[in-house]
């Protein structure tokens, strides 16, 4: 595996500089049933096509970002950094992921 992943902060780098954390998922918003929890923890759509996924620039800027990559060709169509932090004054409701998930088919 040797494709170039364009880090939104550092630019294109060898993919081996990064750690991969898989598809972007949706954490359940309230106490889930066993089935919902299992789906969240274990199931992934595993698309053959464009996937939204998490990457971490381990050997570089150490930022997490989301990339849209075509899993068939390793072509990366775009990357997105998480938005800026919310100031302490407005406490975060911690179950809301700030990067919206792609709609589930």
């Amino acid at each position: 595996m040797s494709f170039l992943l364009p880090c939104p902060n550092c630019g294109p780098r060898d993919v081996n500089e990064f750690a991969y954390a898989g598809e972007v998922t949706q954490r359940p918003r309230a106490a889930p049933s066993q089935r919902e929890l299992s789906a969240y923890v274990y199931f992934r759509r595993n698309v053959a096509g464009v996937q939204r996924e998490w990457w971490y620039h381990r050997f570089g800027c150490e930022l997490w970002f989301v990339a849209e990559r075509d899993t068939r060709t390793n072509e990366v169509l775009g990357t997105e950094l998480p938005p800026e932090k919310t100031p302490a004054a407005t406490p975060v409701r911690s179950h809301e992921p700030t990067i919206p998930d792609a709609p589930v088919a």
Binding site: W54, Y56, E62, L63, E84, T98
Partner: protein
């Protein structure tokens, strides 16, 4: 025979280079290859074929075929036709019993033929099965490609160098040079590589001799330059790899003296060597026919020339004597000759393009495979793109008696392929694997296209529908050494590392860390901590600063524990878990300020924990900073009843039991060094973990040992630490837990504050609580001194009852203790179990409380 000086020759006749072949002295010129020098000296047989031990001679002179492979200075499988001569080189034949000219194993060819068709070992050497090791040994000695000299010692340096190019041109022929020159004129940064010397090109960096071995994702082209592997990242890749002359398939096509036109060209033009006395030329294209000029210029009589574009003979075969060409018969007419130059046209060397993603198509009008639909950033120029003059399409084979060799590398004949197809191996990928065609040293350069044509004829279909086998790197042979390079394998060392070595510690690996296993006496070191005072280097611990207005809220969400109510200056033990409720890591969390927390992790878990923390914050976006202090600070643990006395000598602060209580975090100068003192008790005795700036590692270690000498301080390593923690039943994540373990089953229900609104893994734990768990982590004590192994099987009433995770003989307690996972029904104090040790069932009892100081009095003293 060496010809007189010719314009353009690559040899330097002013000097002489001497090497030996089979013990005999051979003279050559600088610029010669070992092959050209041997040929000039009269050698015609260069190798014996893989299976049949048929004599083989020079065929291509360009490193494409296997015919000239010899052992040079104990390196097997060297293609001497392209290997430059070197003073003092020792060259030997390989795969022969006897000599190249009289190989006793050629009996396989004369007698064994009918018994050794393709795949014969699947039929003739199957039974009796117990004899297979003997059959195998026999086969290995009788067939093969060179022998690795296990006693040879060789040391060579290989480096890997990263390079970038705006344009990388592979191939220094006319098309490649033109492309390079054009790109340079456009102001681009151009690099050109070729296997042979290329005249300098203005504005272009020329790297020779160097070979591109593959094309990978992201424009990565590794280039093998012998001692250096250049890892090129190229924006534009131009492949000018050329086209390879193809052999014709006819009986006698593997005789010594049958050559491809390039063989003649190089012998005559580069090395001024006369290739033969009387020659015949049979060619499907003009380039092959033109070699007649080279022959005549070298004084060779060209007895007959056949242009396959004019007419295709029905029959073509070469007669030989003792393996060497004597005459060639074409449709009944015999021509006496000692050299037959054959060409079935030229096949584009498309492999690099196919690796890059190009589609390969069979052009039936020309009988060649042509690359199409190149991906972005990849271009093909010259003959490799299919820019070839018109050529005849050779027949699949030219009839006649005798064996036609389709694959000279693996000794596969036309008949073998027909038989394979008849047996049902009807796809080219299957037939390839069964017959091994294209799997030899030439990797299909000389046999892929002819095999496709043969296939098509046998299937009565057109060659275009057969497909091709997948092209994979490396395109050419490459040594493992150049791929390995310098082998960068990082190792982490604490700043106290050298003191451990000086003290005679046995070092071991924990992940990437080098750590002392012990200083020679692990049991003694463990006992000493109970009796007096021990010192251990725990600098490998992960250390994180979690700071900011949301720091407490962040940790509350991440950990099952409660941290919001942790007072400044206090520490708590925490267990990190996944959203599936599985234990990931453990450590201590100390609150050193209202908005500042100091988190420790396991040594091997530090990087994972940081990534985990950073990821959750990428999702939650809280106002918190996470700083990795793992290397910034050293940490040592002074533990034992005399620990307080030692600390008191080195610091001004009140070190009494009230001054620094158990689970306090206090900042102070220790021996003049700024320190964070954590009073925790992993090893079960009064102890202080000192965290301080790592440049002071050796100083503070030395000072502690010096000032504690009269207190009988002794360093202790990882093994004694493991004994001590086991006495307290403190878990080691990854040792006593695995990827399925949760805090409830592991016996730590107080960790999980399920009344919190939410935390990572809360729901999973709730569901575990409802479902119950199948196994529980408990302690056990052996009735005798045997020590079970990790993973040891627990047996109750003849049925499996769990497994051992840790076990040690505790010198202080005088018995063997351990921890294990058992079904909840067995998890009662004093339950009798048996553990399998060395095949015997040894008795033991379950224990639920720590073996040593169960109430933690020593810790809090």
């Amino acid at each position: 025979m060496r010809l007189p000086h010719r314009e353009g020759e690559r040899i330097d006749r002013s000097r002489v280079v001497t090497f030996s072949f089979e013990g005999d002295r051979v003279e050559a010129f600088p610029g010669d290859t070992i092959g050209s020098a041997l040929y000039a000296a009269g050698r015609r047989v260069f190798s014996r074929s893989f299976k049949y031990h048929r004599p083989r001679g020079l065929l291509c002179c360009s490193g494409a075929c296997p015919n000239c492979m010899m052992a040079v200075d104990r390196r097997p499988n060297v293609r001497v036709c392209v290997e430059p001569v070197r003073e003092g080189a020792r060259v030997r034949a390989q795969n022969v019993l006897g000599s190249l000219d009289r190989d006793f194993l050629s009996v396989v060819d004369k007698v064994g033929g009918p018994f050794t068709p393709v795949g014969f070992y699947y039929r003739t050497m199957i039974r009796p099965r117990r004899l297979w090791p003997y059959y195998e040994r026999f086969l290995r000695n009788v067939a093969g490609l060179g022998r690795l000299d296990q006693h040879a010692r060789r040391s060579r340096r290989f480096d890997t160098e990263h390079r970038r190019a705006e344009v990388l041109v592979v191939g220094g022929g006319r098309a490649g040079v033109d492309a390079a020159r054009a790109a340079a004129r456009d102001g681009l940064q151009v690099v050109l590589v070729d296997e042979r010397e290329v005249t300098p090109i203005e504005g272009v960096e020329v790297l020779t001799p160097a070979r591109a071995i593959g094309v990978y994702e992201g424009g990565l082209v590794p280039v093998d330059a012998g001692d250096v592997l250049y890892r090129f990242r190229a924006e534009r890749i131009v492949i000018a790899a050329g086209a390879i002359e193809q052999p014709l398939i006819f009986p006698g096509n593997d005789l010594v003296g049958v050559m491809l036109p390039e063989g003649v060209r190089r012998l005559v033009r580069d090395f001024s060597v006369k290739p033969g006395e009387a020659a015949m030329v049979v060619s499907a294209d003009a380039a092959g026919l033109e070699v007649g000029e080279d022959l005549r210029a070298a004084g060779v009589e060209v007895a007959e020339t056949i242009d396959l574009r004019d007419r295709q003979p029905r029959e073509l075969f070469a007669h030989g004597r003792r393996g060497r060409v004597r005459s060639v018969v074409v449709d009944g007419r015999e021509t006496v000759c000692d050299l037959l130059v054959m060409s079935g046209g030229r096949q584009p060397a498309y492999s690099l393009l196919a690796q890059a993603g190009a589609r390969v198509e069979y052009d039936s009008s020309r009988g060649i495979l042509v690359p199409r639909e190149l991906p972005a950033g990849v271009e093909a120029v010259g003959t490799v793109a299919g820019e070839l003059e018109p050529a005849a399409v050779p027949a699949e084979s030219y009839g006649g008696d005798g064996r036609c060799f389709l694959c000279i590398c693996e000794d596969v004949t036309e008949k073998d392929v027909k038989r394979a197809i008849a047996e049902g191996f009807d796809s080219i990928e299957l037939a390839k694997r069964y017959t091994t065609v294209t799997m030899g040293p030439c990797q299909g350069r000389l046999c892929h296209v002819p095999s496709i044509r043969l296939f098509a004829r046998e299937h009565e279909t057109d060659a275009g529908s057969i497909g091709t086998t997948t092209a994979r790197p490396p395109w050419a042979p490459v040594s493992l050494g150049v791929l390995a390079g310098r082998g960068h394998e990082p190792a982490k060392r604490t700043s106290i590392h050298h003191r451990h070595k000086e003290l005679g510690a046995t070092m071991m690996w924990t992940g990437m860390w080098r750590r002392p296993h012990s200083y020679g006496d692990p049991e003694g070191e463990a006992r000493h901590v109970h009796e007096a005072l021990g010192l251990i280097d725990v600098s490998t611990l992960g250390k994180l600063l979690v700071a900011g207005p949301d720091a407490a809220a962040f940790l509350e969400m991440l950990y099952p524990n409660r941290f919001a109510d942790l007072k400044v200056g206090r520490i708590r033990y925490g267990v990190l878990q996944t959203d599936a409720g599985r234990i990931m890591d453990d450590g201590t969390i100390g609150r050193i300020g209202e908005d500042h927390f100091y988190v420790t992790t396991t040594s091997t878990g530090a990087d994972t924990v940081i990534e985990w923390f950073e990821w959750w914050n990428a999702v939650w976006r809280m106002d918190v900073e996470i700083v990795n202090l793992t290397g910034a600070l050293c940490a040592v643990n002074a533990a034992g009843p005399r620990a307080r006395e030692l600390l008191g000598r080195l610091t001004d602060v009140d070190v009494s039991n009230e001054g620094i209580r158990y689970l306090d975090a206090k900042e102070a100068h220790v021996a003049g060094v700024p320190c964070l003192i954590l009073r925790i008790g992993f090893v079960g005795e009064l102890g202080y973990e000192l965290h301080f700036p790592s440049p002071y590692g050796e100083y503070l270690w030395d000072t502690l040992l010096e000032r504690g000498a009269d207190l009988d301080i002794r360093p202790f390593g990882l093994e004694p630490q493991r004994i001590l923690r086991l006495e307290k039943m403190h878990i080691l994540v990854g040792q006593d837990t695995d990827s399925e373990s949760n805090v409830l089953a592991a016996g730590m229900p107080w960790i999980a504050k399920l009344d919190k609104d939410d935390f990572v893994g809360k729901w999973a734990l709730e569901q575990v609580g409802e479902r119950g768990f199948r196994e529980q982590l408990v302690g056990f004590e052996m009735a005798n001194g045997t020590v079970p192994l990790e993973g040891g099987q627990i047996v109750v009433d003849g049925r499996p009852g769990g497994r051992v995770t840790s076990a040690r003989l505790s010198p202080h307690l005088g018995r063997t203790i351990g921890m294990a996972w058992v079904p909840p029904a067995l998890a009662e104090e004093d339950t009798e179990i048996r553990i399998k040790v060395d095949g015997r069932l040894e008795p033991a009892r379950i224990r639920l409380k720590p073996f040593f100081d169960p109430d933690g009095e020593r810790l809090r003293s």
